[in-house]
């Protein structure tokens, strides 16, 4: 029986909200990549229109964390839990921004282009979504071995990003008239690569929560 039942409950609620936001961030990446492959401009537009939802959620999490810091004056692990809530929600919001950027590229490509979208982009997105699941589990269970697993998955995405970039570079030589479209593809793969970097940041936050020291998962 803890003497801080209400505080513990409020911390748990915050944790649930973050896990939900992570799930939403994963969904929006899936939708944005589907829209890209299916040339679905309406879906892309709805992703852009709904981006404010992520900003609101981030703000709500930050405010809750700030109020808990002020009211409960937490220390040690409890304090770190609130600090990383703020950091993770910022990472999730940025991830949603990258999904929105993919939707913008989809709009710019338009519904009638005839260039092939590199299948590696889908593979990168699938890997990134898998990373969100791992990060969520690591966060909920405070398992730092899972947090470290994120780093190796991020490396795979970086490799694929390298492949896509090389292919697109060749494509510019072969189809110089398509350069505008090819650029949008390059951007898209870059957005997914950045999306995954933020998940790695989340892994680092979880490591900090558990161990109390900073850790660079990219090292």
């Amino acid at each position: 029986m803890t003497t801080r039942r209400f505080f513990t409950e409020e911390l748990n609620e915050l944790q649930v909200k973050i896990a939900e936001l992570a799930e939403d961030t994963k969904d929006v990446l899936k939708k944005s990549v589907d829209a890209l492959f299916e040339k679905d401009i309406d879906s892309a537009q709805s992703i852009i229109d709904n981006d404010h939802f992520f900003n609101q959620k981030e703000q709500m999490i930050n405010e809750t964390a700030m109020i808990l810091i002020a009211k409960q004056q937490p220390v040690a692990t409890d304090l770190r839990r609130l600090i990383i809530a703020i950091k993770i929600s910022a990472d999730l919001e940025r991830m949603a921004d990258h999904a929105k950027n993919i939707a913008k590229s989809t709009k710019r490509l338009g519904a009638h282009h005839n260039i092939t979208i590199n299948p590696e982009i889908r593979e990168m997105a699938n890997l990134a979504m898998g990373m969100v699941d791992i990060a969520k589990k690591a966060y909920e269970t405070e398992d730092i071995s899972l947090a470290k697993e994120l780093a190796s998955n991020d490396d795979k995405i970086d490799e694929k990003y390298g492949e896509v970039t090389r292919e697109l570079l060749e494509e510019t030589a072969n189809n110089p008239q398509q350069i505008q479209h090819i650029m949008q593809m390059a951007f898209t793969s870059r957005y997914i690569e950045r999306y995954a970097d933020h998940i790695t940041n989340i892994g680092e936050s979880i490591f900090y929560l558990v161990k109390g020291v900073s850790y660079d998962l990219n090292d």
Binding site: T2, T3, R4, F7, Q73, P74, V75, A76, T77, D78, L79, R80, G212, V213
Partner: protein, 251 residues
């Protein structure tokens, strides 16, 4: 003067059959603030009182181990009066004597035999200034100290402790009876005083310990569980019991 005001080794203390302290060893750094925290009955006040030997008058108290003050074991062949001249104490409830502010401050100094009026005036002014209360009382030095507010009385008691020029000040919950503003004044005072004094403060207020101290000792059931830099204790303690206590999970 070494780097430590106190070096405590394997200190055990019994009240009759009840052991209150178990093999406590810790070094209290010179001219820093050391906070002692822990739940009620953990031995923290007993430990503090041992530092100027205030426990030994209690019947049936037995002690083993050593407490070195500036290198000398105060538990063997050491005059309590000499120790208490160098080690001042401030208690939980302000306890001014029913005398004027002036007489309160120079009480200990008079016992030491100083009679020179000019010298006494100087000591009163200097001590009250150090205790951050001079401006509030300088025009009423010869009125009763008991007429002051609780926060002012506590600073008068601190001035009284400072007047005899000790090098250590022990404080047992010095702000627990004070309002928030008086508490902050005493906290700022503690911060200023550490330039000249070694300060050991027992507190139930963990935020206070984290604000005012350089290192923190956590006592539990008579054991010293953890003693480390305050920043470390309140950000990433080593022992789970420390973490649970400072996070309010028990106590």
């Amino acid at each position: 003067m070494g780097n430590y005001s106190y070096e405590v080794e394997n200190l055990n203390l019994w009240y009759g059959d009840n052991q209150a302290l178990f093999e406590v060893s810790m070094k209290i750094p010179y001219r820093e603030v050391t906070a002692i925290i822990g739940p009620s009955g953990c031995g923290k006040s007993t430990f503090l009182k041992m530092l100027n030997r205030m426990v030994e008058m209690i019947p049936k108290v037995r002690v083993s181990g050593t407490i070195k003050y500036n290198g000398n074991n105060i538990l063997e062949n050491y005059r309590a009066e000499e120790l208490r001249t160098n080690v001042g104490m401030v208690f939980q409830h302000p306890n001014p004597f029913p005398k004027s502010i002036y007489e309160n401050v120079i009480y200990g100094v008079r016992i030491q035999g100083i009679r020179n009026k000019k010298k006494l005036d100087e000591i009163v002014e200097k001590s009250l200034k150090q205790a951050a209360i001079w401006d509030e009382v300088k025009d009423r030095l010869h009125t009763s100290a008991t007429g002051l507010s609780g926060g002012q009385q506590q600073r008068i008691c601190i001035a009284r402790a400072l007047a005899v020029e000790p090098d250590v000040i022990l404080m047992d919950e010095p702000t627990s009876a004070l309002d928030p503003i008086s508490t902050l004044k005493v906290e700022e005072l503690i911060h200023d005083l550490k330039d000249k004094y070694t300060i050991v403060v027992v507190t139930h207020n963990m935020q206070q310990a984290s604000r005012i101290s350089d290192q923190t000792a956590f006592f539990l059931n008579g054991d010293l569980v953890e003693f480390d830099k305050t920043d470390k204790i309140f950000s990433n303690p080593m022992d789970k019991r420390t973490e649970d206590y400072i996070s309010g999970k028990f106590g």
